[in-house]
């Protein structure tokens, strides 16, 4: 249905600098597919979506829809867009019209539908998004979630073949994302072809038939939800889907290293990734390990990481060049080691190519 070849987009800033947002995007999208596009910010997800309906004209490449290259000169973009709806992050309802008028406007003006038919259809659509009671109010009086549901209804009123969702829940209060995602789920069940740029990983995993992981202006990895979320092939994909964040300290020697600074950074990290409850345990483990258990073992690399997907917080201690566990030399009655064991869920000792690693799961 849609095939994209070597698509690129470069923005030229007024100051003469330029930014290549899309580098070389290639993909095939079939009818009925529900594709979630995920990836770090600034990697061209939204630009890719906006290129598909020509709101942002690509710099080069091809987009072929039903056999026609839509990037050719003189292609009637407005006709394409009538069949390819778009839902925006910021809803963009028309504030000077009632909810009903927002939805009826395009079918009346563009499809030649009678006002009565369009209104009947609009009411029906409002019912399906659960807002039949709001037909005659102005968008200003709606909550964010309600606005987005109206925007979806407005988009559906044109009976599109494809809908592009550009971060439909990013501007919403967390308490309101649910209502919007349910509406999109409902559409998915009806077999609508959809491309969804989203940061809602669980939703993407549940609803999609396919996932595009975009990174650095290309589709970095393309696969089924299971493939991308459970068995990512590339490390960037893995770090992203597991939502791994890390903090690394290299300790060359005990004399010159700012341990207190390290502790406070670790605390801040825990607070930032919503595991403040573990902050004390993390700092205590780090302190006992560095000042006691591993005393004298330098250079030492400490890495604190957190995986959002399973909420796992890990402290790694890497001793470069070691081939055996330094723990072996610790007296069995060490109070510090006992304390570390008491604070951790699991301790894994493993030999790697770089050296010996002690992995402590908090």
């Amino acid at each position: 249905m849609i095939s994209v070849r070597h698509l690129s987009k470069t923005y030229h800033n007024p100051d003469g600098s330029s930014l290549q947002v899309l580098k070389d995007v290639n993909c095939e999208i079939g009818k009925g597919e529900i594709i979630s596009i995920i990836g770090p910010s600034g990697t061209g997800k939204s630009t890719f979506l906006r290129a598909l309906n020509l709101l942002d004209r690509p710099t080069s490449g091809e987009i072929i829809i039903d056999g026609e290259n839509i990037l050719r000169k003189g292609y009637p973009a407005h006709l394409l867009r009538q069949k390819m709806g778009m839902v925006f992050q910021s809803f963009n309802l028309f504030p000077h019209m009632t909810v009903l008028e927002n939805i009826s406007l395009a079918p009346v003006k563009l499809l030649g539908m009678s006002k009565a038919d369009a209104d009947a259809q609009s009411l029906e659509l409002l019912r399906t998004v659960g807002l039949a009671g709001k037909a005659d109010v102005y968008p200003d009086s709606l909550s964010g979630g309600q606005k987005q549901r109206v925007a979806i209804a407005r988009c559906l009123a044109m009976r599109p073949e494809v809908i592009l969702f550009d971060e439909p829940t990013s501007a919403l209060d967390p308490s309101m994302t649910g209502e919007v995602l349910s509406v999109i789920r409902q559409l998915a069940q009806q077999g609508m072809t959809m491309l969804i740029v989203t940061h809602e990983m669980k939703f993407a995993r549940d609803v999609s038939t396919r996932i595009f992981f975009m990174n650095e202006g290309v589709i970095w990895e393309d696969g089924s939800p299971e493939q991308i979320f459970l068995h990512p092939q590339r490390s960037a994909t893995k770090a992203f889907v597991q939502q791994i964040n890390k903090l690394v300290f290299d300790i060359a020697g005990a004399e010159d290293f700012d341990f207190y600074g390290m502790y406070s950074q670790m605390k801040a990290f825990c607070v930032k990734y919503d595991v403040a409850a573990k902050a004390d345990a993390v700092v205590q483990i780090a302190e006992k390990m560095c000042r006691d258990v591993l005393e004298g073992h330098y250079p030492l690399t400490v890495r604190l990481s957190h995986a959002g997907i399973n909420d796992e917080t890990t402290l790694d201690f890497m001793l470069e060049g070691y081939s055996s566990s330094p723990l072996a030399g610790v007296p069995s009655g060490s109070a510090a080691l006992a304390a570390v064991k008491g604070l951790s869920r699991e301790i894994v000792e493993e030999l790697t190519t770089r050296g010996f690693r002690i992995k402590i799961i908090v």
Binding site: R81, G85, S90
Partner: protein
């Protein structure tokens, strides 16, 4: 409008100044030392008294204001041609002649130096009239202290068939030259009508303000200057004068303490004032005529200016740098020039030989001004609508034009309407300066009535109320127009 307000304020301030009758009797020019003396801006008396350090000279722009300032006690005395404030006027306002000035001033008609033939004809006529005594009798009739009863006036003979003889008059005051209905009467006018008959040319009068008076002759808008024009050596350097037709004598007017106050009650006073300002000589026709001129200029300028404003707005929002720059420069220049200057430049320089009438030129000037004002309102209004609204419409499948007209424009109108309304009302008020081009608009209508009745306030108040009503109606009309727009 500003002029009206200023005059009204001046009148108010004058009335607040209180009722200080000089204790000393004024009998000669020596007695006026230390006093406040009113006179007409730029008149011979103004120039002469300017040399005296021992008096406070108060300059007014109209004869009405000079004599009224004496009547209400804002100044101690005023000096002006004695024939203008005749017995009737003096009685009406409760002033009297304190003494007559020593000098006499020859008054004549002004010509361009190169119009030798026309001036010779005029001189020949005056010579003949002097010789047969008709000039003297004419002066006696018009300039008697009893004044001229308007009901006895007979329409002048003015049926020449040649080129019109265009006369600029600088004064609109009985008995020199004044209007009754659409016709000019008075001593000078009668002389001009006779000259017209002599040359078989129909005579046309236009009243110009001090600012444009001289220029109307040199700019070719008229052929002869009249209006109590005193012949002075300084003026003779630029202008050729006819023989003097009369020697005017100045008089000093003071408040008459013995005047029987005509205060028969406030209500009767107001009624009488209304009668004099509107009913007598059908003077309400000046108001309706002025209203029509003001409306014509305002509405056409709003229309044309808004169309031009759309162009300016399109330039300002264009991606092309040159057009953007053009819109910017246009706005800077037009908003930087005082409206009066813009109007006079259009009239005397830019559109001088285009054959356009004064009203058309005023419409052009105000359209230029309104294009800048409305263009700015338009582009600000459009900028107030987020680009996301356009994107949302495009994404639904609208073309750019459809998106603009169905989604962006209605929102811009809602935002910009109050500002646009404000600009329209500003324009309406600004048109009150078209009197400088001898257009009889609403403001000038009030001035003409004032010059006939010597009533300081009422005509101004009537005109002010009409301006208020007009402003309100324009606002209402725009609200209605935009109201339709809201529901699409």
């Amino acid at each position: 409008m500003r002029k009206i307000l200023l005059t009204a304020l001046a009148a108010l301030a004058i009335s607040c100044a209180g009722d200080k009758t000089p204790t000393k009797e004024i009998r000669s020019e020596d007695d006026i030392a230390g006093l406040r003396i009113a006179t007409l801006t730029g008149s011979c008396y103004d120039m002469e008294l300017s040399g005296r350090d021992d008096i406070t000279l108060v300059r007014f722009n109209t004869e009405t204001d000079i004599i009224n300032s004496v009547a209400i006690g804002a100044v101690d005395a005023c000096v002006y041609d004695e024939v203008v404030f005749n017995a009737d006027v003096r009685k009406q306002l409760g002033v009297k002649i304190a003494f007559h000035g020593k000098d006499e001033y020859p008054a004549g008609f002004g010509f361009r130096k190169e119009d030798i033939e026309l001036r010779a004809e005029c001189d020949a006529m005056l010579e003949e009239m002097k010789a047969d005594g008709s000039l003297d009798s004419l002066c006696t009739v018009w300039l008697s202290d009893e004044g001229v009863d308007p009901s006895t006036l007979t329409p002048p003979l003015n049926n020449g068939t040649g080129e019109p003889l265009r006369i600029t008059t600088g004064c609109s005051i009985a008995p020199i030259s004044f209007m009754v209905g659409d016709t000019w009467y008075g001593l000078e006018c009668e002389l001009m009508y006779r000259l017209g008959q002599r040359l078989n040319r129909p005579v046309e009068f236009k009243y110009y303000d001090a600012a444009s008076y001289m220029f109307s002759l040199f700019g070719g808008m008229s052929d002869i200057l009249t209006g109590c024009l005193f012949i002075t050596p300084e003026r003779e350097e630029t202008t050729a004068f006819s023989l003097p037709y009369y020697y005017y004598k100045p008089a000093y007017f003071v408040k008459d303490p013995d005047a029987v106050s005509a205060k028969a009650g406030i209500w009767t006073g107001i009624k009488e004032s209304f009668r004099r300002s509107l009913i007598v000589e059908q003077r309400w026709k000046y108001i309706t005529g002025g209203l029509w001129e003001t409306l014509k200029i305002t509405l056409l300028s709003i229309l044309l200016g808004s169309i031009l404003g759309c162009g300016i707005c399109a330039c300002a929002r264009s991606r092309k740098r040159g057009l953007k720059k053009f819109a910017h420069i246009y706005n800077v220049i037009v908003t930087g020039i005082p409206m009066l200057v813009l109007l006079l430049i259009m009239f005397y320089v830019v559109l001088v030989n285009t054959g356009l009438g004064a009203t058309a030129i005023a419409i052009v000037a105000f359209s230029i001004y309104f294009a800048a004002a409305s263009g700015e309102v338009f582009s600000n209004s459009l900028a107030s609508v987020p680009h996301a609204q356009t994107e949302a419409s495009l994404a639904l499948g609208f073309t750019k034009a459809q998106a603009f007209f169905t989604v962006v424009l209605p929102q811009a109108v809602r935002y910009g309407l109050p500002f646009y309304k404000r600009q329209c009302i500003e324009l309406l008020k600004a048109t009150s300066i078209v009197g400088y081009l001898a257009i009889q608009d609403l403001t000038r209508a009030g001035d003409i009535i004032r010059s006939r009745t010597f009533d300081a306030l009422l005509p101004l108040l009537i005109v002010t109320v009409i301006y208020f009503l007009l402003a309100w109606l324009i606002g209402l009309a725009l609200n209605l127009a935009a109201g339709k727009n809201r529901s699409l």
